[in-house]
Symmetry: C2
Subunit: 340 residues, 2 copies
Amino acid sequence: MEEQKIRNMEEFSAVSGISRPTISKYFNDPSSVRRSTRERIEEAIARYGYRPNLFAINQNRKFTKNIGIIVPHIVDPFYAEIVRQIETRCVEAGYWAIVLGSHGDAERELSAIEMLYSLRIAGAIIAPLGDTSVSDRIRQLAADIPAVIFDNHMNGDEIFVGTDNFQSVGLMVDYLCRSGEPPCFLDMPAVNTNARERREAYVRAMEEQGFEPHVIPAESAGWDFEELGYNAGLRLLPTHQLPTNTVLCANDRMAIGLIAAAFEKGLRVGRGAATALRVAGHDDHPMARFTAPALTTVAQDYVSIAENSVSTLFGMIEDGVRPSSPLRRLEGRLILRASA
Amino acid sequence: MEEQKIRNMEEFSAVSGISRPTISKYFNDPSSVRRSTRERIEEAIARYGYRPNLFAINQNRKFTKNIGIIVPHIVDPFYAEIVRQIETRCVEAGYWAIVLGSHGDAERELSAIEMLYSLRIAGAIIAPLGDTSVSDRIRQLAADIPAVIFDNHMNGDEIFVGTDNFQSVGLMVDYLCRSGEPPCFLDMPAVNTNARERREAYVRAMEEQGFEPHVIPAESAGWDFEELGYNAGLRLLPTHQLPTNTVLCANDRMAIGLIAAAFEKGLRVGRGAATALRVAGHDDHPMARFTAPALTTVAQDYVSIAENSVSTLFGMIEDGVRPSSPLRRLEGRLILRASA
DNA sequence: CTAAAAAATTTTCGCGCGTAAAAATATTGA
DNA sequence: TCAATATTTTTACGCGCGAAAATTTTTTAG
């Protein structure tokens, strides 16, 4: 890289000997200029290290190349992993992914949405919190801008990609009933639609199998699922309040907490003969392989969720086509490990 | 909110009856306008829902209100948590935090740095990967723009906030030696300075205690620490290759993997009488409370790291003062749980 | 009540780039 | 070779706001 600092496209145009509009065209779409020109520009970029100012680029463009992403919790590896997948795909397609977290707080989710507006995004991919008042705002956004909702359905006509809880939970209930005592269900706080759907799916699946469902309600609100599962374990396990020796948890993070509590109380978890408790989860959380024992769960297809969200969104942005079926429910995959 | 859509500050000025420059001043610093004016503006904001265009704001500002943040892995809850802390503090101070992940890849880290340049950030907070070639670029950035490095020291004169590995590891070694067999050390891949420092700290601490150090080298590279710890466990535990019954892991994520392997191999982990193995970690990873048994570790002070990084950076940005001592080494805190 | 100080307004300019239209040049095919 | 086409250059404007200077209005102090 030469020592000369290029301050703007004008100067870059001067040193590279190519007119500014052509350079502008190149940065918008390298394939839109002749090959020989492209090579000259790229050579100059390598020499002078110029990159256009992002703010100026988006200032005057009719449609920006920004994709807004909102998730409830970036700290949750489940969302972190999906965001990573989405991000990579956006960058590959020449877009810039702007990730905003609502941190479990409806107000911050609202302000994240306002932020997306002022960023003039081309499209949005959102995993909503459960708050109904914000849902209206998200629906408004989806009416104004191409938007895909994932993970948590808002029960409207939004374009949605997520796991089919009835299929995935059904699969697990079926397996657990066939391989041992029918499970009870450790519910998660009603933070979103998934919570309700999974509970309903559990009840329905149990009834279909001819067993009576037992739902253990969540004792407190919030997103600290490991903590909740752990506390539930400390509360229920010593006093043998569980209706069966098999617990299906509403998600893996609760299962992780429950397993920790069981260990602490000296109860062996697993599907062997000498075990006191079987525990199953849902999601195939990145940590599920490393619990003791490793967690039997239903895998949400991270890659497909990301892929579907992104490709659907790009279809809407670039070709203006709404997907024929707005609802895309992906199948969960049973992951058998040692815990159940 | 009224139905009328405000398209820019000019229109907002018209409907609110306040001149555009005053409104501009307000958005830059609400306290810079008279109280009565402020109230009128805020009333109008509530009525019309106007927010200035972010790209236009930053387009022409001498110093933007953007803070760039780069971390090796957003998926790692350790970084995720620190980022969340930093983010919150930036927003509170009226800045916008732009988080970029290098995903363990030096090239992506480089392009993240280029991105920060084109975002015209006011300052940067960076947890570098270990790659030396990129370090030069980061040093260049730090010369151009106020920047704070955290977590992983680059061995230059950069402004740094991080845990004092010699203190924290020393603390743990001391505890382990006093409470049972002296530990061996399960090393992590040499992805950064922390890896080297912690190993050296272990060796030094053992020698000071008069014991012979035993370092188990990392068998492969990469950031999949749980996997590495797990594989090391599967390899070493059944054949009793460990020099002692106590393992100090270079970080919690490796310890989590090791504990999972021990469980799978039927070895009881813990500090009780009937246990075969003691395992300790480093970092107090969010998941460390929920391993089975819960993990004894040294807590890195997430809050202080975030706080120190942010306040140091703001000092440099707003008052132009370099901190008197560029190196800030925070103390680790011993967290005794059941695993050792 | 008046002068001084503080705050708000008016005016004007420019940031770095996208974009459109017209003119000039280069490439392609027959 | 020349016309037809593709590409680049020239020229010109505007996006939405920050910022500075000069002016007017409001507030505060004496």
